[in-house]
């Protein structure tokens, strides 16, 4: 019976650890409680502590350095055209699976991009192109931070060959420390002790492998193309 085995093992493992670390009786674990409560930051990484425009430039440079691409878009209403442009330029299918997020599904697809066939939902095996939102962009390494939820299925980030990501400029952060703060603030909004989303993906460029003679190939199992639509939203 695995429950019994597990609780016996738990006692053995924790007991063995306690005997081995030989703490004296005065150590009541306050350093552990403090660390968990205050979550101190590590060495300060300067690279991404920049004013907004320079931060955007760093983000673009870093995404391109890992074979992703970025297009700057003036407003959310301009997104359908930007998407249609990208698909046409790369000769990609016009069927688009969009995250079931009103901010994306309510865009003027019919008026602005009538040739696209847009459907909302999680990804299915046959989907070639997906469009999702994004919780944050981390300029330090050109990384997208995608958090799962009812409006953000994780399958869209991995199954299709082409992944298009809408990132609002106001969601761009510099170093990782700001990303953790933003994630924790979201957790706080769901009440104290709230959980992180089921999945948080940090995505840095398209899928790749070096498993054949160390030569980097894109599109190993995840998307072959990663394109970021960076939307100016006046809050930068």
């Amino acid at each position: 019976m695995s429950g019994e085995r597990s609780s016996t093992a738990r006692g053995q493992i924790l007991g063995a650890i306690r005997r081995a670390v030989k703490r004296d009786g005065t150590d009541a674990g306050s350093a552990v409680e403090r660390r968990l409560a205050e979550h101190p930051e590590g060495p300060r990484v300067e690279r991404a502590r920049l004013p907004h425009e320079a931060l955007v430039a760093l983000f673009v440079e870093k995404v391109e350095a890992v074979q992703g691409s970025v297009a700057r878009v003036d407003s959310p209403e301009a997104l359908p055209e930007a998407v249609a442009d990208y698909l046409k330029r790369h000769n990609l299918p016009t069927a688009l699976r969009v995250a079931p997020d009103p901010a994306l599904t309510d865009l003027p697809w019919q008026e602005k991009a009538p040739l696209l066939s847009v459907s909302a939902g999680r990804a299915e095996a046959a989907d070639a192109v997906s469009l999702t939102g994004c919780f944050a962009g981390v300029a330090e390494t050109g990384t997208l931070m995608l958090a799962s939820g009812p409006e953000a299925p994780t399958t869209l980030n991995f199954l299709p060959e082409t992944h298009l990501v809408v990132l609002r400029e106001s969601d761009l952060v510099g170093p990782y420390e700001e990303a953790w703060r933003k994630l924790r603030a979201r957790e706080g909004a769901e009440g104290p002790g709230g959980a992180l989303p089921r999945t948080v993906n940090f995505v840095t460029g398209p899928s790749r492998t070096g498993d054949i003679e160390q030569k980097i190939q894109l599109g190993a199992h995840g998307p072959r193309r990663l394109h970021v639509l960076l939307v100016a939203d006046g809050e930068g």
Partner: protein, 473 residues
């Protein structure tokens, strides 16, 4: 996995004669080293981050029981099912029970060294569940029925031509005249072959690079995206992680991630770093319905409080082997178990016993490159030396070896005699080798000179040169 570490010498001998292996290892000798250096140089705070990463793990190990309890409490609160296992056998049984609870027939797998350590694939297969490796390197070695030869690049010993031959012999349903001359074609074929398997699998099994105590989260770091497809498509996601994977907070994760990929592949970040917390939420459109975490000890708690404790800081980046001249020469299989190169030379004796793996800590020139690039600043050569001492104390070395060491110790403790004898030896060898500058063979050193020449000394010892230099200054 059955260990053949006892046969290190024979394994190494065969490896040196293996032309395919030597060709494949050629790519290792160059690629990894330059990329790591460029990535480290591009981040001014890199050395400070290494110090901080070391300190985080030291603090965690000193409080490992507390952080594991916090991790468990938080993970359970968010809906994870946590299973504790002391041995490999416990872990295999636990995973099998979970698979059987849903009548699983296939399980997809992300790359996990712990799964290799406990021999999970063979066990599942014997019990009627087909394990499917999805990392390209792991997929290749599963076809070849081989163990991994590197902890982050498991098929690093295989050449492109061999991969092509393996795909042709296993993917029989595809047209025989298809072109597979380009690596991209091989990658595309593996992608195609595995796509349906992800969708059909009942269970997805991954390892974990980290467990975050603060949030009850498991973290995987990959480049292909296979680990993510493995864990989001099936009904059940099983994580297998050893006890030392736990770290305190998200900020600590950020510090260690900044040194991990740079040390491993020279990337600033791997393509995918994924944090998983609990099963899918009621309103989530996708994700696993059950999320199990198997926490495995398998010998690690016994390393705490010993001279090998610092090895538990290891984050499995592979930098030590990427920079190791011995690993470069013989490849990973020679080490005879899951963990290879310098980290394997320290960890393997700890986990399977120095009587099994005593050769490994001896397979080092103590050049120190491993320690100099280890992001967690693990003193690997020092710990290999400790293992050599244990081996000697337990009389595990052969008699000739012990006599040689004793003779050397006798001399080393008598500096005048030592200097006189080495001075004479170096002078004689300098005279004998004056014409060619090297020796193709030497008495008592046949093993050394079999694969390379021994450079002739130039007539004086290091100590003599040093004394002269001091006099001149």
């Amino acid at each position: 996995m059955q260990a053949t570490s006892r046969n290190f010498k024979d394994n190494a001998h065969r490896a040196l004669e293996d032309a395919n292996l030597q060709k494949a290892m050629g790519f290792v000798r160059t690629g990894f080293i330059d990329k790591r250096k460029a990535a480290a140089d591009a981040l001014p705070e890199f050395e400070a981050l290494r110090d901080a990463a070391r300190d985080i793990k030291n603090h965690t190990l000193a409080n490992l029981d507390r952080y594991l309890e916090r991790y468990e409490a938080k993970a359970t609160e968010t809906g994870a099912q946590v299973h504790w296992c002391t041995t490999a056998e416990d872990a295999r049984e636990t995973i099998l029970e979970i698979c059987r609870s849903v009548g699983a027939r296939t399980a997809t797998k992300g790359k996990s060294m712990i799964a290799e350590e406990i021999g999970l694939n063979d066990f599942l297969e014997r019990n009627g569940i087909t394990p499917i490796e999805t990392d390209l390197g792991e997929y290749i070695i599963q076809l070849r029925k081989e163990p991994p030869s590197h902890i982050i690049a498991p098929a690093v010993h295989v050449t492109q031509d061999q991969v092509e031959a393996d795909f042709r012999s296993h993917h029989k349903a595809l047209p025989a005249d298809r072109s597979l001359a380009e690596p991209q074609q091989l990658v595309a074929e593996a992608r195609e072959m595995l796509r349906q398997k992800y969708l059909d699998a009942d269970v997805g099994i991954t390892g974990a690079n980290f467990l975050v105590a603060e949030t009850g989260t498991s973290v995987i770091v990959t480049n292909e995206g296979n680990g993510d497809l493995t864990q989001i498509l099936p009904k059940i996601h099983i994580v297998i992680a050893s006890i030392e994977k736990v770290i305190p907070t998200l900020e600590d994760l950020g510090v260690i991630l900044r040194v991990l990929a740079r040390s491993a592949t020279g990337q600033e970040m791997s393509a995918y770093t994924t944090l998983s917390t609990g099963p899918k939420r009621p309103d989530d459109p996708d994700g696993p319905e059950q999320y199990h975490v198997v926490i495995l000890d398998n010998g690690r708690s016994a390393m705490l409080g010993t001279e090998y404790q610092e090895m538990l800081r290891c984050i499995r980046c592979g930098a030590c082997m990427n920079h190791c001249p011995v690993y470069h020469a013989v490849g990973g299989h020679a080490y005879g178990w899951v963990y290879v190169g310098p980290m394997g030379a320290v960890l393997t004796p700890s986990l399977i016993g120095v009587d099994q793996a005593g050769h490994l800590p001896n397979a080092s020139t103590f050049c120190g490159r491993c320690e100099s690039v280890c992001p967690m600043r693990i003193p690997l050569p020092k710990m290999m030396r400790h293992w050599r001492e244990r081996e000697f104390e337990r009389h595990l070395n052969p008699p000739a070896w012990r006599w040689g060491l004793k003779a050397w110790a006798f001399l080393a403790r008598r500096p005048r005699l030592y200097q006189a004898l080495t001075g004479l030896q170096v002078r004689l060898m300098g005279l004998a080798g004056r014409r060619r500058g090297r020796f193709a063979s030497l008495p008592l050193a046949g093993g050394w000179t079999e694969h390379r020449d021994f450079p002739a000394p130039q007539g004086r010892t290091f100590q003599q040169l040093w004394a002269e230099r001091k006099r001149a200054a």
